[in-house]
């Protein structure tokens, strides 16, 4: 089981500020499962507009956070030691990050600044370059969102 800090996440994902929605990965089984953390702060740019007098984390941001966590799961396949990433390996990994293909998620509770999202993603069925992913989001012990994504891997 691996753990990743923000710096290591940035080495695996092509995403950059202001579009990284993952602070750390607490548990990672490459190719199978990950548990990630996203701390929500009032400083995020989208709270200016969503909404000026009532800051609520946009649902699409939660979906994107889950998609990024899922990308980590399959980008990390075959990595023996995540602390040693040479340039060539980083390039190969970034090429593998594909696209979000389908989203089926139910939101149960709104998320506010100060909340800590606990994101869980588990790869289900693989079909060609498509993967079914089971996802869940918790804040403390409350279920925030639950559902399923389908993602595609690039470069096959």
């Amino acid at each position: 089981m691996y753990q990743l800090k923000a710096k290591e996440i940035a080495e695996l994902l092509p995403h950059r500020h202001p579009f990284i929605f993952l602070d750390s990965v607490k548990e990672l089984i490459p190719g199978k499962y990950a548990l990630g953390i996203k701390n929500v702060t009032i400083d995020e740019p989208f709270f200016q507009g969503h909404f000026p007098d009532n800051p609520i984390l946009p649902g699409v941001v939660i979906i994107e956070a889950l998609a990024q966590l899922t990308a980590i799961i399959y980008a990390s396949i075959g990595l023996e030691n995540l602390n040693v990433l040479d340039e060539e390996l980083k390039r190969v990994i970034k090429q593998k990050i594909g696209y979000l293909v389908k989203v089926n998620i139910k939101f149960m509770q709104p998320v506010y600044p100060g909340d800590q999202l606990c994101l869980i993603s588990e790869i289900g069925k693989n079909f060609g370059n498509l993967k079914q992913v089971k996802v869940k989001v918790m804040v403390e012990n409350q279920e925030i969102a639950i559902g399923e994504l389908i993602v595609s891997e690039k470069g096959r």
Binding site: K125, F127, L130, Q132, I150
Partner: protein, 100 residues
């Protein structure tokens, strides 16, 4: 003329299975069709019903759940038509019964 009740029962059973497959397809993929409108041998992908690869994955998952079988990636060939899916399900069921 003697009536082959055994054969009639088999035909009815088969009809039920293909209907269940059609209902699964329609429900899972939100198609605006009735089971009657899907031909048993109509190609599901491309020129036929026009399903795509994402539909295929969803359909595989739905068939697994509905019929209690496990479908591997190599078996995607079975998803050509309603009839071929029904054959595949029947095969998997027979295998499972054989294992018991």
């Amino acid at each position: 003329m003697a009536v082959d009740y055994d054969l009639l029962a088999k035909i009815k059973e088969r009809k039920n299975l293909t209907n269940r497959v059609k209902e699964t397809i329609i429900k899972e993929l939100n198609l605006e069709l009735t089971p009657r409108e899907i031909d048993d041998d109509e190609p599901l992908f491309a020129m036929g019903l026009g399903l795509d690869s994402v539909d295929a994955l969803q359909l595989v998952l739905a068939v697994e759940e509905e019929f209690g079988i496990t479908i591997s990636e190599e078996d995607i060939e079975a998803f050509r038509s309603v009839n071929s899916i029904a054959d595949y399900i029947q095969q998997q069921w027979n295998k499972m019964n054989g294992d018991r």
